[in-house]
């Protein structure tokens, strides 16, 4: 396929995934803001939400204070934020439009109708209900997009590039959310007392939509080391880093099989996957959770660059 089309598909998937992740971050922050605890070195839940997208500096160029109003505006609607939900959907649709031929009708209709439905919503003074409806629609768009890709696309290179975009973005997001809270996940750290720990840990899981599945997997209360294990090392958790990389590998291998050639992307992904598979929980904390995650975020971005160089240029 055309390199430009592969590039558009890859970024289409990344932006749809990013829109969904950002919607979940806002939801989690909204929920946390309704709890009595505000204790994270003076940072409030709204600032944390912005930090989860890795754009705190840009946010502070535009706003002094992180409040529900400023953060929701910035994360959901601001055109000055290239990763706001609005920007993500605009870019996703523009990409979809430029690769119409590589998308099935169902996928295009999902993107196009989702874009049209959410386009009119943009007042930062939405009621809670209106905001919640908006966020639900964004999540729904992403789920329908994934579902229609899964059910209607030919299993060929177009599909693999789309999946790679989703998975690289997803791994990035999981790692960022964890890195944000790496300190409260350190099991040797003194407890914040009361239910404060619980709210912090559950915020992490909610941000990646993993609270319920945690309970199904561990049948236990929230424990910080298990939260880390769940989101990094558990292959059955689809948002865990190891799961993302297993699937990245599958898609890269499918590509190299179809094209009859391995390249730098395959080698790099294989190396990162085996590192993840060889990591143990105790090893994680021995390296230092924060250090581990920060390195992962860089490695993951670098794999994205390698894929772009090998296929999308």
């Amino acid at each position: 396929m055309l390199s430009r089309h592969a590039d558009s598909l890859y970024w289409l998937a990344r932006y749809v995934e990013r829109a969904e992740n950002t919607a979940r971050l806002i939801e989690a922050a909204t929920r946390l803001s309704a709890t009595p605890i505000i204790a994270d070195g003076g940072r409030n839940e709204w600032e944390m939400a912005v930090d989860g997208t890795g754009t705190l500096d840009r946010f502070h160029e535009q706003h002094d204070e992180a409040t529900q109003r400023t953060v929701v505006d910035y994360l959901a609607f601001s055109s000055a934020n290239p990763s706001s939900i609005r920007s993500c959907l605009d870019i996703a649709r523009a990409n979809a439009r430029s690769v119409r031929t590589a998308l099935t009708m169902d996928m295009w209709e999902t993107i196009n109708s989702g874009w049209m439905e959410t386009r009119g919503v943009n007042s930062p003074n939405l009621t809670r209900q209106e905001l919640s409806d908006f966020l639900s629609r964004v999540k729904e768009l992403s789920l329908r997009f994934d579902g229609s890709a899964y059910r209607t696309m030919l299993r060929n290179d177009a599909y693999y590039f789309l999946r790679l975009g989703t998975l690289i973005e997803r791994a990035d997001f999981t790692a960022r959310v964890l890195a944000l809270k790496a300190d409260v996940l350190d099991p040797t750290r003194p407890s914040l007392g009361g239910s404060a720990d619980y709210f912090q840990w559950s915020w992490i899981l909610r941000s990646v939509s993993a609270l319920t599945s945690y309970h199904w997997v561990y049948r236990d209360n929230l424990k910080p080391n298990l939260v880390a294990e769940f989101l990094i090392l558990k292959a059955e958790m689809p948002r865990s880093l190891v799961s993302c990389y297993e699937n990245i590998m599958i898609n890269l291998d499918s590509l190299s099989r179809d094209y009859g050639r391995q390249g730098a992307s395959q080698r790099k992904a294989r190396m990162l996957l085996s590192q993840l598979q060889d990591t143990t929980l105790s090893g994680l904390f021995a390296i230092g959770l924060k250090e581990f995650l920060e390195r992962f975020i860089l490695d993951n971005a670098s794999l994205g660059d390698t894929i772009a160089e090998q296929y999308l240029g």
Binding site: S3, R4, A6, R100, E109
Partner: protein, 491 residues
């Protein structure tokens, strides 16, 4: 006199071809029709059939209105049209091969040399170039109108990059979704084989050096172009890559596209981009849409462009006035389709007549398209006419004039109910190495404003599904004697 109506003729009752439509309209209450109209709009918007209107930033993406009442032609009407279209497009191709070759028609004194060789659309790069099977216009869109139940007139030949065929295909899909019962009652010739016919035509004209399975691509200026939807739609139906200039490059006079597997040779480019932008090394140097070196590959015979470069010299409105003679010259036949009587303002007598009769006439720019830059005399204010008069006097060569024709009308849903609106028809004519292919039907355009004669989508026009049905048992026999003398007014 009221215009000829496709359903009611000149008021002598319902024409047989429209009986099904009549029964359907009679049995539907306005609320039901309104609901169908809404549903149609919803479908189009969701599929993303949008149309960018140049110079209208607000309405960056707008859908072309679809009218729910189909336009109907009988099999014998179509047979006449189809023969006429084949004849006309064959003559266009012969004309192009001639003006870029021997130039017989100019030497015979049929078409003035300056109209050909001084024409801005004439491309010296094409002189002496031999194209596969001498086909220049692989895809033509011929705009047809009628004023009674006998004659079809050609209003305009579109031999550059005619658009609208996606609407022909989508309109049928939507009409079938909206009114399945109508399709159960009537046998309507299908149009959905158009992409197959197009691909067959394009492949048949691949360069001799191309492999047995030539690689065809569709080239678009990009998502900002007003017809981008159509480009992506067609590429999808054809199963070919939709490329932009930056996806292609030329090496050793061969065109390649950049793919995820490395370079791939391209044999046929169905380009939906104007000549001017094709190759910055030959045409506009500021074009970023084109492919440097494309024309060198073209001249080396390593790639086929559809349509060929320089076809604009044949569909120019000044050349149009000579089409009847062009048909006779190359084919030795009388034209089956009439030309609309036309005054060539470059001729002093005609100019005088036109200036004296501006309020009655339609005046068009020779180089204009899309309904821009024209004067519809009867619908214009005194000021508009005077402004136009000044332009006309300043550059008479740049204009032609035609009588204000009473384009036929067709029943159309207009919000309160059904009313007659003026229509035209653009059939799409495909020329391959082996034959001319025409999918039965075409795009019917309708002027939605009451009394308006301008059907262009950029000027508030809409479209209809176009049906070619079997001749009703008791319909009048097709009109005999198609060899009318061509009205060549002026001079």
């Amino acid at each position: 006199m009221p215009a000829f109506d496709e359903m009611h003729g000149f008021g002598q009752g319902v024409r047989p071809a429209y009986r099904t439509i009549q029964a359907w309209l009679d049995s539907s209450d306005p609320e039901n029709l309104k609901r169908l109209q809404k549903e149609a709009e919803f479908l189009f918007r969701r599929i993303g059939i949008t149309f960018a209107v140049y110079g209208d930033a607000e309405a960056e993406e707008r859908i072309i209105p679809f009218d729910i009442v189909p336009r109907v032609l009988t099999g014998s009407e179509w047979a006449t049209l189809s023969r006429g279209l084949t004849q006309r497009v064959t003559a266009l191709n012969r004309f192009l091969a001639d003006v870029y070759g021997a130039g017989d028609i100019v030497r015979a004194g049929i078409v003035p040399a300056d109209l050909v060789y001084q024409n801005p659309a004439f491309r010296p790069e094409m002189v002496g170039l031999k194209l596969p099977h001498d086909v220049y216009v692989q895809i033509a869109g011929i705009d047809i109108i009628r004023t009674d139940d006998k004659d079809f007139y050609v209003l305009e030949d579109n031999a550059r990059t005619p658009s609208g065929v996606s609407y022909m295909l989508e309109n049928r899909d939507v009409q079938m979704r909206l009114c399945p019962d109508l399709f159960a009652e009537t046998r309507i010739q299908p149009v959905d084989n158009y992409p197959d016919e197009l691909l067959a035509s394009l492949r048949s004209l691949a360069p001799i050096s191309a492999p047995a399975e030539p690689t065809v691509v569709l080239m678009t200026p990009g998502p900002l172009n007003s017809a981008y939807y159509e480009h992506s739609f067609l590429a999808d139906k054809l199963g070919v890559e939709l490329v932009e200039g930056r996806d292609l490059y030329v090496l050793d006079q061969v065109v390649y596209m950049r793919t995820t597997r490395g370079p791939k040779r391209v044999d046929v480019i169905y380009r939906r981009i104007d000549d001017d932008f094709l190759d910055p090394m030959v045409f506009r140097p500021d074009s970023v849409l084109g492919i440097p070196g494309l024309i060198s590959a073209y001249r080396a015979g390593n790639v086929t462009l559809a349509n060929a470069v320089g076809t604009g010299v044949a569909d120019d409105k000044a050349i149009y006035t000579y089409m009847p003679e062009i048909v006779r010259f190359y084919l030795g036949e009388e034209p089956i389709l009439k030309n609309v009587p036309t005054w060539r303002c470059r001729e002093p007598d005609s100019l005088r007549y036109v200036l004296d009769h501006l309020p009655e006439l339609v005046v068009k720019e020779v180089q204009g398209s899309g309904g821009y830059g024209m004067l519809v005399g009867p619908k214009s204010t005194k000021e508009q006419i005077e402004t136009f008069r000044a332009r006309l006097v300043a550059d008479p060569d740049g204009f032609i004039a035609q009588p204000t024709l009473a384009l036929s009308t067709s029943p159309t849903f207009v919000g309160e109910g059904i009313a007659p609106r003026h229509i035209d028809l653009r059939p799409f004519v495909l020329t391959g190495a082996d034959k001319v292919r025409i999918v039965p039907g075409g795009l019917t355009r309708v002027a939605l404003k009451d009394g308006s004669l301008v059907v262009n989508s950029s000027q508030g026009g809409g479209t209809k599904d176009t049906w070619i049905i079997e001749d009703p048992a008791d319909s009048a026999p097709p009109s005999a004697g198609l060899s009318q003398s061509q009205s060549q007014a002026g001079g």
